[in-house]
């Protein structure tokens, strides 16, 4: 299996990056953390733009950097595509020339990206003869993604490519990135501080916190781990793979199913049978020991088993509880409630999830 190994350190004035990663070099890997946590620096180390980084970086068994043996493959020989926060197009070239820049520098044997299909996926066919100054920011960023993809990289690095765009533009580009990954089969490392983007895109997740990049794994597994509140903050909560089974048009609700359980969410523009990823924030899950006897306004009540109870932190009133409902679900409850319910692993509970809380 192809791996991406990054065991590197970098000291900048006052800032320290410490990465110990060994993740699959396929699918979409999201690098998540707050602003200033070192996400961009990590990406720049992978690209080879930080010459003073030390350690080991290898992709698909190819060593890009190994300080102990003095190996440092320069950026232009790494076959790495990079999409920056800003489009960074060459202003003296047309869109076509920008797109061809990396392509013409790719050895013939390595040219596998179909030009027409990339242009089609990104929807930039009408822009080819124009200059970057005359494009909107969203168009520029799509061109810059195309330019990186057409350089036939073996790894595509994206540094918050949507950060400079407004919400509708983001929604427009996100599916492109997914399609590029699936259809062109390029592994993507995607830096973001937006949980929503990550939940939509990622297969693998890397968490970065104050320069430490050591926690990584499959996104479902990471999001269902206890004790990552420090990294994830308000975004703590499990991700569930579900599919649409019905729409209730009169109530503007969509009914999903996962592992034999039903979940109501606000009406989604999806077809019955479509797969969907649901992020259930732990703070929107509450627990009770018995199913409610009287009618309740809560639509989603799911039977689950307590798997693990997070460590109580002095000074914090809340604890996290990991449940098994066919797949992991996290709930955040107060320590007082934990005490009152006398929860213990193996116990059966009923988890109430507010429909409106689903993403």
């Amino acid at each position: 299996m192809t791996r991406l190994i990054a065991q590197c350190d970098l000291k900048h004035s006052g800032f320290r990056l410490h990465a110990r990663l060994d993740i699959p070099a396929q699918g979409i890997t999201a690098v998540f953390g707050r602003s200033g946590s070192g996400k961009t620096t990590l990406l720049r180390c992978l690209a080879g733009l930080e010459r003073s980084a030390t350690g080991l970086i290898s992709v698909n068994n190819k060593v890009w950097q190994e300080s102990s043996t003095g190996i440092f493959i320069p950026v232009h020989q790494r076959a790495v595509g990079m999409v920056f926060q800003q489009p960074c197009l060459f202003s003296h070239m047309t869109v076509r020339a920008n797109l061809n820049y990396g392509l013409t520098r790719t050895p013939l044997a390595e040219r596998r990206m179909p030009w027409d299909q990339v242009i089609e996926i990104l929807g930039i066919g009408a822009l080819l003869e124009r200059y970057p100054q005359h494009l909107s920011l969203g168009e520029q960023q799509r061109v810059s993604i195309g330019r990186a993809v057409l350089s036939n990289p073996c790894l595509l690095l994206m540094d918050e490519p949507l950060a400079s765009l407004d919400a509708p533009r983001k929604d427009e580009i996100l599916p492109f990135i997914k399609r590029l990954n699936r259809e062109m089969n390029i592994p993507v490392v995607y830096v973001s501080h937006s949980v929503q983007e990550i939940v939509q895109l990622a297969d693998t997740l890397v968490l970065v916190h104050e320069g430490q990049a050591t926690v990584a794994g499959p996104i479902h597994e990471i999001f269902s781990r206890l004790g990552l509140h420090e990294y994830l903050g308000e975004a703590t909560g499990a991700i569930i793979d579900a599919h649409v089974i019905a729409h209730e048009a009169e109530f503007d609700l969509t009914c999903l199913e996962f592992h034999g359980r039903r979940l109501y969410v606000p009406r989604q523009s999806l077809n019955v049978g479509d797969a969907v990823r649901v992020h259930i924030l732990s703070r929107n899950v509450s627990l009770s020991l018995a199913p409610p006897q009287a009618p309740t306004s809560v639509l989603n009540i799911i039977e689950a088993r307590v798997v693990e109870i997070g460590a109580a932190v002095p000074g914090k009133p809340a604890v996290e509880v990991k449940l098994d409902a066919g797949c992991p679900i996290l709930a955040t409850i107060t320590r007082k409630s934990l005490h009152a319910l006398a929860l213990s692993p193996g116990q059966c509970v009923y988890a109430s999830i507010k429909a409106a809380s689903l993403q």
Partner: protein, 226 residues
């Protein structure tokens, strides 16, 4: 125009300025790039040395050049051995002197242009498989074109007006070192004001037109050159 007016000094000056400008653009590019990007401690020393001709009296520069380029000088002696000719009082010697004399006028605009460049497109080029040299020619150079125009114009016009250094190093040999400013000085010395007028006028108008064209281009491009 006086019938006997000798235009050879004008052509010689244009020739000297052209050769010097071309050579300077070649040499100054790596120097300016290094100055714009290095964090080395020696940078300030090099910058000060490059700027010296801006403030030094041309006679001082010329005096030292005379020593270095002379038949017993550090450059002049090996040159004499190799080519059997001297560097002083020759066109080649003038070119070498002009290279030094006009160096800051070419290096500084280039350095400014390089420093003003956004580094991101350069990094983007590296990530698109362009080697540092390749990305310099395909990304840096086109984006620093205005800087090159300024450097070329300043280097050219400054060399064209050179006097003190030429007098010290080149003397006044017709067809070899008798450039336009020397010729004008000569005409005034011999009270031939008519010829001096013509040559001075030609130089004035020519230089003005060059600058005018540059500024006009500039306005058109909405970017300041000088």
């Amino acid at each position: 125009m006086p019938t006997e007016l000798d235009l050879a000094p004008l052509w010689l000056s244009l020739q000297l300025a052209s050769v010097t400008t071309v050579l300077l653009l070649l040499f100054a590019t790596p120097l300016a790039w290094w100055l714009a990007n290095t964090r080395a401690r020696g940078r300030a020393v090099i910058e000060a040395m490059v700027a010296l001709p801006l403030v030094l009296p041309p006679t001082v520069l010329g005096f030292y050049l005379l020593l270095v380029l002379g038949p017993h000088g550090a450059l002049g002696a090996p040159w004499l051995q190799l080519t059997d000719t001297t560097l002083t009082f020759t066109f080649t010697g003038l070119v070498i002197a002009s290279l030094l004399y006009s160096l800051p006028f070419v290096v500084q605009p280039l350095q400014n242009a390089f420093e003003a460049l956004d580094r991101k497109p350069l990094e983007a080029a590296w990530c698109l498989r362009a080697s540092p040299l390749d990305s310099f020619f395909s990304v840096v150079l086109p984006q620093a074109m205005r800087g090159y125009l300024t450097a070329a114009v300043l280097g050219f016009t400054h060399t064209l007006g050179e006097f003190g250094v030429v007098l010290m190093v080149g003397g006044n040999i017709p067809g070899e070192t008798r450039v336009i400013s020397i010729a004008i000085y000569d005409h005034v010395e011999t009270l031939d004001y008519a010829s001096a007028h013509w040559l001075a006028g030609i130089l004035l108008v020519f230089t003005f037109i060059v600058l005018l064209v540059v500024y006009a281009l500039d306005r058109h491009a909405r970017v300041r050159v000088i």
